[in-house]
Amino acid sequence: MHRNKSFVSLREARHPGPAIEPRVLTAAAAADRELRLFLPPGCDLLDGLAAKMQELGILTAGVRLAGGDFDAFSFYTGVPDPSGARAATFSPSHEPTLPVTLVIANAIIGLDEDDQLKSHCHAVFLDGNGTSRGGHLIPGACRIGGTGLAAWATATGDAQLKVRHDPETNFPIFHPHVGGHSDGD
């Protein structure tokens, strides 16, 4: 802990590719659907969210979650990439003591390179010992337990997010995408 005026100097990330302009990318659309979803026990959190959105014809949404229990749960954290191909990579999966209680999470649902819905979700949760932990939840590996879990979603209409390869970071990453074409770079 330190006081506001005595920072360590800021470090910048070094990525394998050159910096690409513009540094912020946006797509705008009129207000779209607002949804409350309830995911039952036994449902995989992220696969369930993505499959239901696909069924509803929603191509991108921001999702807010809090509370709920899990009887299976795995997550990644960010670690340096020993290969040097990227500035960082995902850790091996962490398997916390069960049951896990979700404290709070955000998820982004968008399109992958084949126009299938995929999710990106970061959360803080309590493991079975009551210890607070956090990271990147793994789709297909976080199964809802207890009595289920509510999620609130904001769909974005034509202002979509779609994965494409980012030469700067060498990651596949969500980019804004309007009306079937990229706003691109």
Binding site: M1, H2, R3, N4, K5, F7, V8, L10, R11, E12, A13, H15, A19, R23, V24, L25, T26, A27, A28, A29, A30, A31, D32, T60, G62, R64, F75, T77, G78, V79, P80, A87, A88, P96, I104, N106, A107, I108, G110, C121, H122, V124, R133, G134, G135, H136, T154, T156, A159, Q160, L161, D166, E168, T169, F171, I173, F174, H175, P176, H177
Partner: protein, 135 residues
């Protein structure tokens, strides 16, 4: 005795445009969200969902210049902005206040307000913002 309410402000309004955005690496996330709002000519907005990563995090705990700051070393911190609001300042410029969660490589978690100018995006920040129009 009744609770004093005369200083509690209420603003009625409605949500309008939705913005999907990506912030590339090495951008301060508070300033980047303000830039997005300027580009889209949005005065007031809320963060509807946001995930990404930071090089390092500096989280303000309390208010004012002397507030304690929690420094969380990265790189590759996983973050979510769980409460974020943009309001126009007295000059009509959008100003963001962002609160959220941070997780390091060991899966340890932290939380607080992202301090302006002190939280650089690492790989990406993915963001759904929504405009708020006061009536």
């Amino acid at each position: 005795m009744a609770t004093e309410t005369k200083n509690i402000m209420v603003e009625e309004g409605h949500f309008a445009r939705v913005i999907s955005a990506r912030v590339r690496p090495n951008q301060d996330i508070v300033e980047a969200i303000e830039k997005i709002c300027r580009q889209q000519e949005i005065a007031h907005a809320v963060v509807r969902s946001c995930v990404g990563s930071l090089m390092d995090a500096n989280l303000k705990l309390g208010d004012g210049d002397g507030a304690p700051v929690q420094h969380v070393p990265g790189p590759g911190l996983e973050i979510a902005i769980t409460a974020g609001e943009v309001r126009k300042d007295s000059d009509g410029q959008p100003k963001a206040r962002l609160y959220g969660i941070v997780a390091n490589s060991d899966g340890l978690s932290f939380a607080g307000e992202f301090l302006r100018g002190q939280n650089l995006s690492f790989v990406t920040l993915e963001l759904i913002l929504q405009e708020w129009l006061p009536d």
